[in-house]
């Protein structure tokens, strides 16, 4: 399949980098985010930051939800920079997607609580990587069963923690 045709939500690119099991579960509609206080506080931060920006929550093709469109920049608001690799990939994917549509933009990840901003530009190398990731995402979400639990240092903070780790002796 041509990776240029593989369209996914931005969050799936993010989840792919964070945890493939989470990506699989999420793609099957098995979501846990609604029960997580951490996710809720992230949502509040989203809604309360950058109140003066006019173009917030811009929906592209009913698929991508861009946090903020600000001139030549697409901005993504995040709570913490712990998962900066995943955040970067998500934004690169947005830039890549827009580029396919003939729109060239740059990106900014805003870590509001840390008052930190990371600037991102899409290079040819990044494009190759995004294409590879999209193919991998497709492999994960079309698998019949979920990838097994893999212990990661951030599992305990994840909204899926209880689901993944509950078992009986």
């Amino acid at each position: 399949m041509n990776s240029k045709l593989l369209k996914v939500q931005g969050i799936k690119v993010n989840y792919y980098c964070v945890c493939k099991r989470k990506l699989w579960l999420f793609s099957k509609g098995i979501t846990m985010e609604q029960n997580s206080n951490r996710v809720l506080s992230g949502k509040v931060i989203h809604e309360s930051s950058y109140p003066r920006m006019k173009k917030k929550e811009v929906l592209v093709d009913d698929l991508l939800k861009l946090d903020i469109v600000d001139g030549e920049y697409i901005r993504e608001v995040k709570m913490s920079s712990k998962m900066s690799k995943a955040d970067r990939m998500q934004l690169l994917y947005y830039l890549y997607y827009l580029k396919q549509k003939g729109i060239e933009k740059k990106g900014l990840v805003n870590y509001v609580k840390e008052k930190k901003i990371e600037e991102i530009e899409l290079t040819a190398k990044d494009e190759k990587e995004i294409e590879k990731v999209l193919k991998e995402i497709n492999k994960v979400v079309t698998a019949k069963t979920a990838p097994k639990v893999k212990k990661l240092f951030y599992c305990k903070k994840c909204a899926y923690y209880e689901l993944c780790y509950i078992e009986e002796e």
């Binding site: 099957k28 509609g29 029960n35 019949k144 689901l163 002796e169």
Partner: protein, 327 residues
């Protein structure tokens, strides 16, 4: 975690702008913090406006109605938010296959029996004969090949169990026979009232997950009830309700004057219901350090965890093993 609200007074529950108010018969107005509400339980005679019914689903708030006697009559169930067609299909497959349906039904009964025995062993007064009788019957669970036969095993276990209530209960409380429709003595009415609450609690937890409450395994999926809620309640009734009943009676927290009797129907009066609910709520919020999760888990959360294990079972991730209290 959000709270459950119980309304006993008569009055009117309404939404005005973005606030929910309860106005009682004496025109006292009270607002409810809707964002912190998990479920609403209406015991009084209450008028509602449709604006309220349009508002509640936005917060996933369930409205549970109880009749004059305090027994469950129905739920205003908010629009499903956690839908997974994939999960639903998988869950239905497990129902449709005799073997896999039986497997789940058996584990529910086995877990219930584990909690029944756990209760009985706490009381020296309970005879060895009863415990051995139940243990023997428990061995039949494994070899049963029909749901109806399994129901039979369960019925016999319960018969032993309820018979021993008279050895456990003090302060003049006796139970002749488990009588549900309608309960005719105080002990029966306590159990029935508790089971109503258990049903709505389990339903509330199922709602927070992708498990479908209508596809059940031990109970036949019926149109009258969310029958998976009945399945899971089996596990938790002896663990939560019965221990609350024992505590209320044996510690003299509930007395004969907490009950009313009308035409052979025995039921808790308002004071009695409030006593029960306050103990029940306390129990649900009690936490245990989970030996696998390594974090504190409330009794209420234990119910949700059963749903999570079912999800893993249905998606062929991990075989379901029912809860058996170890603490």
């Amino acid at each position: 975690m959000n709270k459950d609200y119980y309304i006993f007074s008569h009055g009117r529950l309404k939404r005005k702008d973005n606030t929910v108010y309860f106005i009682d018969g004496g025109d006292n107005k009270r607002s409810l913090p809707i964002e912190q509400v998990d479920k609403l339980h209406l015991f009084g005679e209450i008028d509602l406006n449709s604006k309220l019914l349009n508002f509640l689903p936005r917060f996933g708030v369930m409205l549970n109605f109880y009749n004059y006697y305090g027994y469950y009559s129905g739920t205003y169930y908010p629009r499903e938010k956690n839908v997974s067609g994939f999960m639903k299909v998988k869950q239905a497959e497990y129902y449709n296959n005799h073997e896999s349906r039986l497997f789940l039904a058996k584990t529910f009964v086995d877990s219930a029996t584990h909690h029944i025995l756990r209760n009985l062993r706490r009381y020296e007064e309970v005879s060895k004969e009863v415990i051995e009788g139940i243990e023997k019957e428990r061995n039949n669970i494994e070899t049963t090949d029909e749901i109806s036969k399994l129901m039979g095993v369960e019925g016999r276990i319960r018969k032993w169990y309820y018979k021993s209530f008279n050895e456990i209960l003090k302060n003049g409380f006796k139970m002749n026979k488990r009588e549900k429709r309608p309960p005719n003595d105080p002990v029966n009415s306590l159990i029935s009232f508790g089971n109503s609450l258990m049903y709505t609690t389990v339903l509330g937890e199922i709602y927070k997950t992708q498990v479908d409450p209508t596809i059940s395994f031990l109970h036949e999926p019926s149109t009258k009830r969310f029958s998976l809620s009945l399945d899971l309640a089996e596990i938790f009734k002896p663990l939560i309700i019965d221990s609350v009943v024992f505590k209320l009676i044996n510690n003299r927290m509930i007395k004969k004057d907490h009950f009313d009797n009308e035409e052979g129907i025995c039921f808790l009066n308002e004071k009695g219901k409030k006593k029960f609910i306050s103990e029940y709520d306390k129990k649900l919020k009690t936490t245990i350090k989970h030996r696998k999760l390594k974090r504190k888990v409330s009794y209420q959360m234990f119910i949700r965890l059963e749903c999570y294990k079912l999800i893993k079972h249905f998606i062929e991730d991990q075989t379901y093993k029912s809860l058996k209290a170890w603490w």
